[in-house]
Amino acid sequence: MTALLEIKDAVVRFAVRGGVFRSAGSIDAVSGVSLKIEAGQTYGIVGESGSGKTTLARAVAGLHHASEGSILYRGQELRDLPESQFRKLRREIVMMFQDPIGSLSPRLSIKSLITEPFRIQGMKDRDLDAEAKRLLAMVGLPPEFASRYPYQISGGQARRVGVARALALDPKLLIADEPTAGLDVSIQGEMLNLLARLQDELGLAIMIITHNLNVVRQITDRVGIMYLGKLVEEGDTDTVFANPRHPYTLALLAANPEPDPDAQLMRIELQGEPPSILHRPTGCEFHTRCPFLQPRCSRDVPAWQLDGAAAHRCHFPASWTGSEVEPS
């Protein structure tokens, strides 16, 4: 069976200007990412700022051009697909953008915003009033919201409008870029519950981009951990959380303090800051910050190693025993 979405060795490259009229070469914001998302599945992409997660998402949505590799949607190659053909696919692949208020045009009413997809796709036969009502009900907003404008609604409500607009055309794949960033914890839960409910009802696959590990643990089936444009660990969410192997995954988990002053914390702290992708480190690209650095790490690029329901790229994978991190 072909997966709903299959990304193979995708590279997204940007040209870098170094001063006036002088090209300084290029950077690979996404540098050889492979993953599969099945229909109805939730896939989480985790990583820090600059790790390339949003670029990857935008490449899938056709907003960035992949320079190498392939992006297959139901077996169809999306890379190099002309915009006119991609537009038809946008009924099935939709994106929810990060900034909830900023992604809504301030001059359009909520009704215009959530029914815009019908107009763009030329579905003139639809009763837009009825559709607006249906979509608002679906995301749990009262029908009178149709006549409001973005400045009249709260951040949490704006997210719901974003969901309604994304789901207007009954898509198969929803790409959600940081769906909970900037929301209060009490509203975060509402948003995630809404996504989970809609997924059950509509059978849609969701690709979630986030840096919030708690969100990933709660709602995803599979997870990919990104660092400098590459996946370093990937697999079944429960497996990765129970037994993280890559030191970067461990560090991310350790950097997620629990709301309990007596919590037993994984004490693993990274030194320094992420290196620039203009100057990628040699060997394992994480070696400049890795607490378990060995001579080999700066020389050889680690290959994927399968470990149960997950895989990682590390020469010396560590393990978490529940109280201590043990380097191998």
Binding site: V185, N193, N214, A255
Partner: protein, 323 residues
């Protein structure tokens, strides 16, 4: 000794719709050499509280009542010149967004020397102090980096520079307004650890504002929980996080996905939304969202002691006592 003692502080904003009561009878203390956290969601009054302490309030803000005592002096009645003398020396602040804290067209060294304008030191001495401070917050090669501009530093480094600048004059009170929200998780831990060490070295107190419960648990000694402009609970971090006495605190802790170990398709939420602070409901401020509401909630509860040093504004505490 108490560094900061806020008593019954009420602040409101004049708006076209009427008076917006952003803070109502807020009381809290920050003891010497301690880290006190303030938690609360958007609209709870955290920012208004900070601006009242450093007296940098919006033009339409008005202090209705109360006092903000800093080492015994009421900041609200100080002359402008006296207040200005305190800011940056005795009370300093780290803001949320490290990208916008610094002047982009001046080198970091210049900015760090400029803020020492009060000290009668030579240029070389000021520069040395700036370099020492940078080294203290963990910026390698501090001497050379003084000549760089803010854009040459990453977000995590810029926030550390902001902390270095805030601590330069060895203040008695550092106010940190969500200093880590704009940073990545691994950098967040670095900053928190550094803050804790510096607080220890310098011996200052920190008022740490955050909506991230995990960070508060990790860093603070005491915590104050605010909801819709009121303090609803205060106590040691351990007491408040382990046995929350106010239903809002309980709900907030339950909502934090960091607390939920079992995977679920139905995360807990707090139904409803915060009340309109122009037309406040009578009685307990949390009543209309509270799962444990009963008749007494029609009147406003006073802060009551749940256990020594742990207080909450809830009628249930009295009920449990008499039961």
């Amino acid at each position: 000794m108490t560094v900061l003692d806020i008593r019954n502080l009420s602040v409101s904003y004049a708006t076209p719709r009427g008076e917006l009561k952003a803070l109502r009878e807020v009381s809290m203390t920050v003891p010497e050499r301690s880290i006190v956290g303030i938690v609360g969601e958007s609209g709870c009054g955290k920012s208004t509280l900070i601006s009242a302490i450093i007296r940098l309030m919006a033009p339409n803000a008005q202090v209705g009542a109360g006092s903000v005592a800093f080492k015994g002096d009421d900041l609200l009645t100080l002359a402008d010149a006296q207040m200005r003398a305190l800011r940056g020396t005795e009370i300093s602040m780290v803001f949320q967004d490290p990208m916008q804290t610094h002047n982009p067209v001046l080198t970091v060294g210049r900015q760090m020397m400029d803020i020492q304008y009060r000290d009668a030191l030579s240029k070389a001495e000021k520069r040395k102090r700036a370099a020492d401070m940078l080294a203290l917050v963990g910026i390698p090669d501090a001497q050379a980096r003084l000549n760089q501009y803010p854009f040459e530093f990453s977000g995590g480094m810029r926030q550390r520079i902001a902390i270095a600048m805030a601590l330069m004059a060895k203040p008695s009170l550092l106010i940190a307004d969500e200093p880590t929200t704009a940073l990545d998780a691994t950098l967040e831990v670095q900053i928190i650890k550094r803050l804790r060490e510096l607080q220890d070295d310098i011996g200052c107190s920190i008022l740490f504002i955050s909506h991230h419960l995990g960070v508060i648990a990790e860093l603070c000694d005491e915590v104050v929980v605010m909801y819709a402009g009121e303090v609803v609970e205060a106590g040691s971090v351990r007491d408040v996080f382990h046995s929350p006495a106010h239903p809002y605190t309980r709900a907030l802790l339950e909502c934090d996905p960091g607390h939920i170990k079992e995977k679920t398709r139905n995360l807990p939420t707090i139904p409803g939304s915060i009340p309109d602070m122009v037309n406040l409901p009578g009685g307990c401020i949390f009543a209309d969202r509270c799962p444990m509401r009963f008749e007494a909630c029609a009147t406003r509860p006073a802060m009551a002691e749940a256990r020594t040093g742990h207080k909450a504004a809830c009628h249930l505490i009295k009920v449990e006592e008499t039961a």
